[in-house]
Symmetry: C2
Subunit: 118 residues, 2 copies
Amino acid sequence: MFEKNLSVAFLLDFYSNLLDERTRDIMEAYYEDDLSLSEIADGEGISRQGVRHIVKKGEEQLEFFEEKLGLAEHYEELSLAAKKLEGVKATLLEAGGVSDDTITILEEIISTILNKGI
Amino acid sequence: MFEKNLSVAFLLDFYSNLLDERTRDIMEAYYEDDLSLSEIADGEGISRQGVRHIVKKGEEQLEFFEEKLGLAEHYEELSLAAKKLEGVKATLLEAGGVSDDTITILEEIISTILNKGI
C-alpha cells in the first residue's frame, strides 16, 4: 500500500525549487493536482512503478532538505507568531484609542510573517 | 585578486547545512573565523589553490541555493517587519494604557521573527 503523505505536500511548498524539473512536475501532479500514479504514468509515458520510484525519491529529498534547513518547522513557529499578533490586534481594537496607522502596520507585519517567501 | 564577499557570510548562515562537511568547514574558517586561504591550506594539508577552489565552489553553491529558495532575501523582509513591530511597541508604550502582557507578547513575536530558524 502506498499512501499519500499529506505533510509531503507542505514540504513541497518550501523545497520544490530544489528538485529537478521532472521530479518536481511529478511530485506536484501527485501531491497538488491529486493525480493517481497511473494517471501520471500515462501522461509521462512511463510505468506506474517508475512514477512510484520518482515520487519515493522526491519524498526522500524533501525530508533531507527539511532535516537540513527546517523551513517547514520554522514556518509553523512563524504562523503561531502571526496568530498571536492577530490576538494583539484584536485586544488593541477592543480597548480602543489605537490609531488606524498602527492597525495597518500590524496587518502588514502579519502578512509578511505568513508569506512563505519562496 | 580574490576578495572576501561579505554577503557570502550571510548566505552561509542559511545554507551551510546543505554543503558537504569539508566545504562547510573551509567556508566557515574563511568567512566566519576570518582565516586566510594560506592558513586554511596549512591546516588542511592542501595547497592554497586547492582551498581557493573549494571556497569558490562553495560560493557558487550558496548562490544557487539563494536563487532557488531566497531565504536570505526573505529574512531581510522579516527583519524589517520586526523593526516595524519594535516601532509599534514604542508607540504603544508612549501612548500608555497597554498591558504588560501585550508588550511581552510583542517581544516574543519579535524574537520569533528574528530567529533564523536553522
